[in-house]
């Protein structure tokens, strides 16, 4: 800022520039001012342009579709407006509520252990360990593995007939567990997949935050007689609070949009999320209605409802965080 201020034309310059012989200089100075004022906007414009094309436009178009009766089986139905009928139908749709419960349930099952594991792993990685870099890179491997590959392995682990987990459990169970048959078992399996995939990512974020905590704090705590556990609870956790809040919000949003794992866990490819929709999430239900059933209007209404639910939950998150901050 100060450099540009210095190079602004001084009052002496201005008087001189006002003379007609220096038209070019006037023009140049004007360009210069535009450059200073305008270029920041020009630099951020590509983002907003792309966000407009790939973010706002689809959002608006989806909203538009959601008010139509568009269905691939009925040619011409894309032009039939039904107002908010799709939304009122959605509120009375048991399958939607089932999908919402599944999404929230799997969300809790997946997010809570995921963040706890991540915190523990980050704490361990923060010690001075031999081969620390390799270990730190190692926790990120599940994250950089594609979900499809993760699902391939987990589908074998959770297979009913020749699955690894059932083989390990066989001494303790009467009959092999059909992981896709019961709600609890399928939630467990899907959550395990999500937890496996995202724990390392969160651990790395926590680790980065832990490294900003001044070492002196631990030192003086140790002098005061605080053990490792006490140090963790009284120094590490409070210092990480903003980071924890960030990961909770990001994970919550991610959990609400959970799709790839249940999509791949349903090996029938009917997008039903189990024979009785045991693990069908909202996005999977959206996908089924949209693609399998060709109900574009209804699918768009599901998408927008999910969007609104996500915004509401993020807002609640935000308010809770603000309250925590102000009470400090």
């Amino acid at each position: 800022m100060s450099r540009t201020a210095l190079r602004e034309p001084s009052s002496v310059d201005r008087r001189r520039l006002a003379e007609p012989s220096d038209r070019r200089a006037v023009w140049r100075s004007r360009l210069y001012r535009w450059d200073v004022k305008g270029s920041p906007y020009a630099y951020v414009a590509p983002f907003f342009l792309l966000f407009g094309v790939f973010g706002v436009l689809p959002l608006a178009y989806t909203a538009l579709i959601s008010t139509t009766a568009w269905n691939t089986r009925r040619p011409g139905s894309e032009d039939v407006s039904v107002g908010l009928d799709n939304y009122s139908a959605l509120l009375g749709d048991d399958n939607f509520w089932n999908a919402l419960v599944n999404t929230l349930g799997i969300g809790v099952f997946a997010t809570v252990p995921q963040l706890l594991f991540a915190l523990g792993i980050a704490h361990l990685l923060n010690y001075k360990l031999r081969g620390r870099l390799a270990l730190r890179m190692g926790v990120l491997v599940p994250y950089v593995t594609s979900v499809a590959a993760v699902a391939l392995i987990f589908n074998q682990i959770f297979a009913r007939d020749f699955g690894l987990l059932n083989w390990l459990l066989s001494p303790f169970t009467d009959a092999p567990i059909d992981w896709r048959a019961s709600t609890a078992a399928s939630w467990f399996a899907v959550s395990a997949m999500v937890t496996w995939h995202w724990t390392g990512y969160n651990a790395l974020i926590y680790l980065a935050a832990m490294q900003t905590i001044p070492y002196e704090l631990y030192e003086s705590a140790a002098i005061d007689g605080a053990g490792k556990w006490r140090q963790f609870w009284s120094i590490t956790i409070p210092s990480l609070r903003p980071t924890i809040i960030f990961t909770v919000i990001v994970s919550t949003v991610g959990a609400l949009q959970l799709f790839a794992e249940p999509f791949l866990f349903d090996t029938t490819r009917n997008h039903n999320g189990g024979s009785e929709r045991q693990f069908q999430t909202v996005v999977l239900y959206l996908y089924q209605q949209f693609w399998t059933n060709g109900r574009y209007g209804y699918g768009a209404a599901i998408a927008w409802t999910l969007f609104v639910i996500t915004v509401v939950i993020v807002l609640i998150n935000f308010l809770v965080v603000r309250r925590i901050r102000s009470s400090e």
Binding site: F54, P58, N71, R269, V311
Partner: protein, 431 residues
């Protein structure tokens, strides 16, 4: 997918799907003018329609005959294939030059004739096919034909002779056929099998396949001839459901949903003794469980007739090489090629004239203990009713398969029926 773009993901998924799919596929060379200009033709299939994973000799032959043509085949699974096709037709871009459509799905595309090349205008000799076969891919007045029939899914019952022997049942295919004149008899034989069956071997793979087989003897199943949805009122559908549910409850099903990895393993591990077997299933069994060669045999289907599957090859009009694509489609569905596909893969020709040719009639399947496939499959088609298919026949069929799977997992059949009815209403009714 998770965490991608936060709020945008939900909505972006819808449109993004359209945009992304629009960017892939499609030939970009050649023009309509010069028939000898180099051209790349893409063919989108959902299985072993024209090739096996390690054998594309039919395409190679065409490329030899037409040195300017290069053929690229893209495979995806059944559901994804048809969903992508619909998306690309809606988007107006991205479809392959040739797109396969399965018989249960084709009615849904007949309503969009403007998106396909009309084979009626292309000088195709359709005499090889019956009117009923052509009618499924035609508009009601017959003026537009959007697809040429490839194969047809005549039904038989494939069975594991080794498991039959172990359970004390006859193994000779004629004697086995006499065990089940009707589907009731088939289920009764299942009880006999289970009483002495080897450990962990069940009678059939999945309830959905018994259900499909039973309905194979009916003319009207999910839709009536007027195109109305009659699935909820049709006593034949409920009877097929009840029989299948009863068989499941007596423990006959291995509960392996079709086309899953578990199902494939089931073939290899001998987890079931019989499977409703359209002609194309022969190729599937062969490529999935090569080690079971000689253990299989083929008997007649209970009820004596039926049809499951079969496909049409279409040319979306959005393509740039429609003229060359039409030529390839004609060639692929010509009787000579259909006979080759039958011998190589098992897909039974839809071209009736070929059924009397010695290459078809006298063909026996070595993998299936030399069962006379060339006689068994046409026999089941001879008296088969011409089934009415509607726009959502395919989706309704898989809804029933899913519902029967819930019964296999211990669910109550009446509740599963009620759920299936409401799902069908959403997918094919007013929804």
């Amino acid at each position: 997918m998770r965490r991608a773009g936060r709020t945008r993901a939900a909505a972006g998924l819808l449109i993004g799907g359209l945009v992304l799919t629009a960017c892939s596929g499609g030939g970009d060379q050649g023009s309509g003018g010069d028939p000898n200009a180099p051209v790349t033709l893409t063919v989108n299939v959902f299985g072993d329609n024209f090739s096996l994973p390690d054998d594309r000799s039919l395409y190679d032959e065409y490329e030899r005959l037409h040195p300017n043509v290069k053929i690229i085949e893209n495979r995806s699974d059944f559901g994804t294939h048809h969903q992508n096709l619909q998306a690309r037709l809606t988007a107006g871009t991205g479809a392959a030059d040739l797109e396969l459509i399965e018989v249960g799905q084709v009615a849904g595309y007949v309503g969009q004739t403007d998106k396909f090349v009309n084979f009626r205008d292309q000088g195709v000799d359709t005499a090889a096919w019956t009117d009923a076969t052509l009618a499924r891919a035609s508009t009601p007045d017959g003026s537009a034909l959007i697809g040429l029939p490839t194969d047809i899914g005549g039904l038989a019952m494939c069975y594991r002779a080794d498991l039959f022997k172990a359970a004390g049942l006859p193994t000779d295919r004629d004697e086995v056929s006499r065990l089940w004149p009707t589907w009731e008899d088939y289920v009764a034989t299942g009880d006999r099998f289970l009483s002495k069956a080897p450990d962990k071997a069940k009678w059939f793979d999945a309830g959905g396949h018994v259900f499909t087989g039973v309905l194979g003897n009916e003319k009207e199943t999910f839709y009536n001839a007027n195109g109305d949805l009659i699935v909820a009122e049709n006593p034949a559908v409920k009877a097929a459901w009840d029989l299948t549910a009863r068989a499941i409850k007596s423990g006959q099903s291995a509960a392996l949903p079709e086309f899953t990895p578990e199902w494939n393993t089931g073939f290899q591990q001998g987890q079931f003794a019989t499977i409703t077997c359209p002609a194309w299933m022969m190729g599937y069994i062969k490529s999935n469980a090569a080690d079971t060669e000689g253990k299989w045999d083929i008997a007649r289907i209970p009820g004596g007739s039926g049809n499951w599957g079969g496909s049409y090859v279409t040319v979306p009009s959005q393509g740039r090489n429609t003229a060359a694509a039409v030529e390839l489609a004609k060639w692929l569905t010509a009787p000579e090629q259909a006979v080759k596909l039958f011998q190589k893969i098992g897909n039974f020709p839809s071209q009736r004239g070929t059924w009397e040719q010695p290459e078809v009639k006298d063909f026996s399947a070595p993998f299936f203990n030399n069962a006379p496939a060339g006689e068994i499959f046409p026999a089941s088609l001879a008296d088969a009713p011409v089934q009415v298919v509607g726009p959502q026949s395919g989706v309704i069929g898989s809804t029933f398969a899913v519902a029967l799977n819930s019964v296999e997992q211990g669910g109550d059949p009446d509740e599963a029926w009620a759920k299936a009815m409401s799902d069908i209403e959403a997918a094919a009714g007013t929804g």
